[in-house]
Symmetry: C2
Subunit: 138 residues, 2 copies
DNA sequence: CCGTATCCAACTAGATACTG
DNA sequence: CAGTATCTAGTTGGATACGG
């Protein structure tokens, strides 16, 4: 670089180019950044699911409590609907809303990106770890 | 599972429609799901930044520690480069890699989605809160 | 200026037990 | 089956102080 860009003066103004005070990033991460939210959305993208089905579909195994909190949170934000059917035993079905499907498409794009670039990322990590043997906070 | 819903047979197969064991969602969230990663990437999308510039650009104010951890993590994954210039006082510049720019585009799409739908989300929340006065875990 | 180290507060997540 | 409640462990994040 050096020679090329020379006097930096303003560069690109030091703001992220989505203008307003908030880029939406913070809220976005707060909303679907939970450990399970993305999984629930992606699973629900395949169709309506009952509570237990959701729980069993998520890799790693989510506890009842966390799944409850997650779906409630998503329901509150209008990303999915919760339908209680007065059968016995009780049955509760979760389904994405229009907005939820919309959002899930984007999440899926990110997930697909991750899968595609995983080899490259793994390689970078190995190189970094080799170059920084004593790096704490990995 | 007595009378009502009987044998469900297969429904939609109970798997998320990205076939493999992992949808990439978990790793993705682990990677850029941190409180600051997305912000750093978006800010860096506007161009090279020095440490202090990054810190001041991020709304809410990130501590030195967290910013250090975040950029190190992103550097390790190959999403940005860290260049130390032996000047005095020291100067360290961060810049997105090709892969980082790629990823940031998708994050930006999600952030833009959030901004566009924020009114709807807010409305849903208000309705939900009104309907569930005693909801703990908001 | 750019970090690292230490300590501490807050939040997140799991296990378990109990209710409708 | 589908939660709720409680308690606890682990992790994340912030403040501060200090070193290169």
């Amino acid at each position: 670089m050096s020679a090329g860009h020379t006097d930096v003066t303003e560069e690109q103004e030091l703001v992220c180019d989505t203008p307003p005070d908030e880029c939406g990033v913070r809220d976005l991460v707060d909303r679907i950044g939970g450990k399970w939210s993305a999984y629930v959305l992606v699973e629900l993208a395949a169709g309506m699911r009952r509570f237990k089905e959701l729980q069993r579909a998520i890799p790693g195994g989510v506890s009842q409590r966390m799944l409850t909190l997650t779906v409630r949170h998503l329901e509150r934000d209008g990303l999915l609907t919760r339908t209680v059917r007065p059968t016995v035993p009780p049955q509760v079905e979760y389904e994405l809303t229009e907005m939820g499907r919309d959002c899930t498409t984007l999440i899926r794009a990110l997930a697909d990106w991750e899968v595609a670039h995983r080899p490259a990322i793994t390689a970078h990590r190995a190189a970094f770890d080799a170059a920084n043997p004593g790096f704490t906070g990995r």
